[in-house]
Amino acid sequence: MSAHDQAAIDANPRLSMLEAAWVIARRDFIAVLFSRAFLFFLLGPLFPVLIGGLAGAVGSSVSKEAAVVEVGLAMSAEDNAAMMQARERLAPLTRGSVPVLNPVPEAAEDPAFDAAQYLEARRGNFAAIVTGSLDAPLVVGTARQVNRWQGTVELIAAEASAPQSYPQSASIAVAGSAASERSNRIRTAQASQMVMFLLTILLAGMVLSNLAEEKGNKIIEILAAAIPMDAVFMGKLFAMLAVSFVGIAVWGTLGWAFWAIAEDAIVTVTQTNFRDLPGPAVGWPLFLALGVVYFSMAYLLLGSLFLTIGAMASSVREVQTMSMPVTMMQIMVFFLAAATLTDAGSNLELVAVAFPLSSPFAMLARAALDATMWTHLAAIAWQALWVVLLVKGGSLLFRKRVMKSGGAGTEKKKRRRGRARAEAEPAE
């Protein structure tokens, strides 16, 4: 085996690009998979979910608090009672969109009660106060509150004056309509874009820190001497992509298991039967396949850009500084792709489709909304071309700008300069 291997090396002294990239990818894949970084990558999606959940709970509590509006009654005791009874009758019919009505205690005690003065004195906690009679109610409040509640107060007063009987309507529910299907598909497109964006940013950051770490370990020169930098870049990109697939597989399996165990609970909590949701325009299997491809492309594009930055930077701090504008740009192109989601065929949407970094996001949205297939093949080819160009450009920049001089020599020069300065300075 040994002699055979040696003979093979001598006979074929060049490692192919694929073989070289494989050596790098295999090392990186194993190293990342068994590192703490992968644990964070696995836990990563939990944080947005957790933060989203917390923010949702807090927001919902705050909005509930804010949504409880109380309108004060400063009419006669009878009218107050009639208004409150009318409100109770109307509340179920209007799905709770009528305000809570409560008598203003100070009004009952003071025959000369002035609602305007009362509100301007910032007393009580009423959005508005109704005075006058059932026939001629007077709404006192800020212009905004008056505008908001005047019609509702009139409705309640009319109901209080003469209770109406309302006909009960029957209903027939249909599975869906064109409007609801499109609306759901847009939601699918939005959700898939968001998931893809989060994963891409997370991964590209990992590949960036991976390269910065290698520069810190000084191993990059060994790699650059042994194999072309294109192969180093490719190997690193695909290793991280494979890591992400492992992560997605783990999350997918957990999600599927959770769904299998708690489908009923999920439907009850979310009030949505996901099985009834309309599929994306190209159908779920193809949509998922395209999702994987576009995610890969989005990651490869951003990753190769980040690798170029990582290769050119000399320290982790420099990496962070240089990568910030790229991250900002990626957020902007994501917004571009998201904003044009409902404008298929518009000039702006075509820009989002053509610009390499936003193209995967825009095309995934198209897959959700439009069943045309050839556009995907063209877009994938276009994106792949840009991946190759970025990798080539990155490795070229690396070779041109990074390996400038022997580091130890530079250190020694610094030391020497320091010594020379010390010698030049007069002793005190």
């Binding site: 490692l15 370990n217 000084k218 001497a225 042994a226 194999i227 022997g406 580091g407 130890a408 020069k413």
Partner: protein, 332 residues
């Protein structure tokens, strides 16, 4: 052992390439590389025959590392050509080359044996074979106990040895070492010298950069002296030394006499001795005149110039002083 080395002068001089029939492992002509408008390497020519130990000697910042990086294809020259085993693109024969950079680097979390196997894999050696050979190499260098330790658990010297073994695990035909002796203690420097000699005996071409003249003088059959990005001399160590005439030290009983007129023009007196360059005609005619002039010769010795003297003569006093300063800095 004297070996005829292919030799040429830089482009400034008349170029004459002649070697002993051995094919060239490395051939470079007029290599130029600039960084940010500054010429780091300015027209370097090199010819290294297969199986030679070749030194690139010069102070820090002279352009040694940049030259080696161009030879390896890590960076491309702005001008000039380089051929390694006849290939313009060194990566095309990457499996035949081993490289130890000046800035040592290994993955800290990797086990020693895996680091060696990985470096072999970069050069096309299957991982399993790399591990097997790595174990053998570690055993040969009494480092078997370090095989399963991670790099961060090793001492600096051990980590350097592991990296060197990784450089050699795929049995390259050309080994390029950038400042291999820096950071090593005297014992490990001796071991490394032994390894380099063994490689050459096995037919491997070794080229290394150094700013320590003694290493080049002890090991190399050929040397390129590099200063300020230029190579004022590239050729055999012997011929470099021959560029300076041997020095004669003469001790006589008589202090004065007509015989002093027979001494060469550069003769100077220091204490009891005369020092002068060995005449081109040899020492015999001079001896005859001294005996006839009754100088009373007490002692006469001929001292051949060392590589340091040759370096001073070729690269200049300033470069030599910088080289000495670097050597002191490197040891500190």
């Amino acid at each position: 052992m004297h070996m005829q080395v292919s030799e040429h002068m830089s482009a400034d001089n008349a170029m004459a390439i002649h070697h002993d029939g051995r094919p060239l492992a490395i051939e470079a002509r007029g290599l130029v590389k600039s960084f940010d408008g500054t010429r780091a390497v300015d027209g370097v020519d090199l010819s290294v025959p297969e199986g030679a130990i070749y030194g690139v000697l010069g102070p820090n910042g002279a352009g040694k590392t940049t030259t080696l990086r161009m030879l390896l294809g890590i960076i491309d020259p702005d001008e000039g050509v380089r051929r390694v085993f006849g290939h313009d693109r060194p990566h095309d024969i990457g499996r035949l080359i081993g490289y130890l950079p000046e800035e040592r680097g290994l993955y800290p979390a990797m086990k020693s044996i895996e680091a060696i196997a990985f470096m072999g894999a970069l050069r096309g050696l299957p991982l399993a074979e790399g591990r097997k050979r790595g174990a053998e190499l570690l055993e040969k260098h009494s480092l078997t106990h370090a095989a399963d330790r991670t790099i961060r658990q090793l001492s600096k010297g051990m980590a350097q040895t592991v990296q060197l073994l990784g450089t050699l695990v795929h049995r390259p035909r050309l080994v390029v070492l950038d400042e291999p002796f820096s950071g090593l203690d005297a014992i490990n420097q001796g071991k490394l010298e032994g390894m380099i000699r063994q490689l050459a005996e096995d037919g491997v071409t070794v080229i290394f950069s150094t700013h320590v003249i003694h290493h080049a003088e002890r090991l190399c059959e050929g040397v390129a002296i590099i200063a300020g990005g230029k190579v004022p001399y590239a050729g055999s160590v012997e011929k470099a030394r021959d560029r300076i005439p041997a020095q004669v030290r003469l001790e006589t009983r008589a202090r004065e006499g007509a015989w002093t007129a027979a001494l060469p023009q550069d003769a100077r007196r220091e204490g009891d001795f005369f020092y002068f360059s060995l005449p081109e005609t040899g020492v015999e005619p001079l001896l005859k005149q001294l005996i006839e002039g009754d100088a009373g010769i007490l002692s006469l010795s001929i001292e051949r110039a060392g590589l340091h003297d040759a370096f001073v003569a070729i690269a200049g006093e300033a470069a030599a002083k910088q080289l000495e300063a670097d050597a002191v800095g490197g040891q500190s």
